[in-house]
């Protein structure tokens, strides 16, 4: 995945998690896979509303839907929260940033030492 696609995927995940009902759905799905009906049973809102929430979660890459017999089962996709690639990219940039700061800090001190020697 390139940086732009990754950033786009992350935005979908943020949008999906911005809503408290969807966060509750994620909590339930973290315990077990569920059909729409099973999710609906745990909330005081309509089936249509739950279905909309599930679509947003799926678009955000946080859940996947699997047909099992006549049922459609919703399953959590934990890596959607932060992919391995996401972490590798994170540390790749992190170390670039830190090592550049390190070089600056070391060379600043080195200059200071050289000035003191000259005095």
């Amino acid at each position: 995945m390139n940086a732009s696609a990754q950033s786009h995927a992350a935005q979908g995940a943020f949008r999906a998690l911005a809503d408290p009902t969807r966060r509750d759905i994620v909590m339930f799905l973290s315990e077990q896979d569920m059909t729409i009906g099973e999710v609906v049973d745990r909330f005081d809102i309509t089936r249509a509303a739950i279905k909309k929430h599930l679509i947003v979660l799926e678009d955000g890459g946080l859940i996947s839907v699997h047909p099992i017999g006549r049922e459609r089962v919703n399953r959590l996709e934990p890596l959607g929260f932060k992919s391995v690639n996401g972490w590798l990219n994170h540390f790749n940039h992190f170390w670039d940033d830190r090592m550049s700061k390190l070089a600056t800090a070391v060379e600043k001190e080195n200059l200071k030492k050289q000035h003191e020697k000259k005095k």
């Binding site: 990754q6 950033s7 992350a10 943020f14 998690l17 966060r23 994620v26 909590m27 973290s30 959590l76 934990p78 890596l79 929260f81 932060k82 992919s83 391995v84 996401g86 972490w87 590798l88 990219n89 994170h90 540390f91 790749n92 170390w95 670039d96 830190r98 090592m99 550049s100 700061k101 390190l102 070089a103 600056t104 800090a105 070391v106 060379e107 001190e109 080195n110 030492k113």
Partner: protein
């Protein structure tokens, strides 16, 4: 080294001993990274701190110093909150180069730790949600 190892090399215009002090001295670590609780010592645990908004300390990175060969090689474990206790390994190598120092870093084990981080993320949904979301948003920039 695997395909998920991060490796970086920079050249620093200073002697190895000077560079070494910035990797191990508790205050100098703070100049480019986070300050440590104490100077790094072989086989000892270490903690690097950040400050919360209210000024209290929070542990940002921690682990153990596995190998210390002054001024040429430093190996530490590297743990952060989202890794759910999983250790990654950071190795620093310092070589003399044209009057300065060739400084190389490898960071291994991130992919394995990332697998555990997903579970951590879920269990943290209730408590530090905003905090985690903020961190995630920062890290995907």
């Amino acid at each position: 080294m695997t395909t998920t190892t991060i490796s970086k090399t920079i050249f620093v215009n200073a002697a190895r001993e000077t560079v070494w002090s910035f990797l191990t001295d508790k205050d100098k670590l703070g100049e480019w990274y986070h300050p440590a609780e104490a100077d790094l010592a072989e086989n000892a645990d270490y903690v690097l701190f950040a400050r919360n908004d209210d000024g209290t300390k929070k542990r940002q990175v921690w682990g153990r110093v596995v190998e210390m060969d002054q001024p040429s090689r430093l190996v530490t474990t590297f743990i952060i909150e989202p890794f759910n206790g999983a250790e990654t390994i950071v190795t620093w190598a310092l070589e003399n180069a044209a009057g300065g120092t060739r400084l190389s870093l490898t960071h291994e084990g991130i992919a394995e730790a990332a697998d555990k981080s997903a579970i951590q993320f879920l269990t943290a949904l209730d408590a530090g949600w905003d905090n985690h979301l903020g961190r995630l948003r920062e890290s995907v920039k």
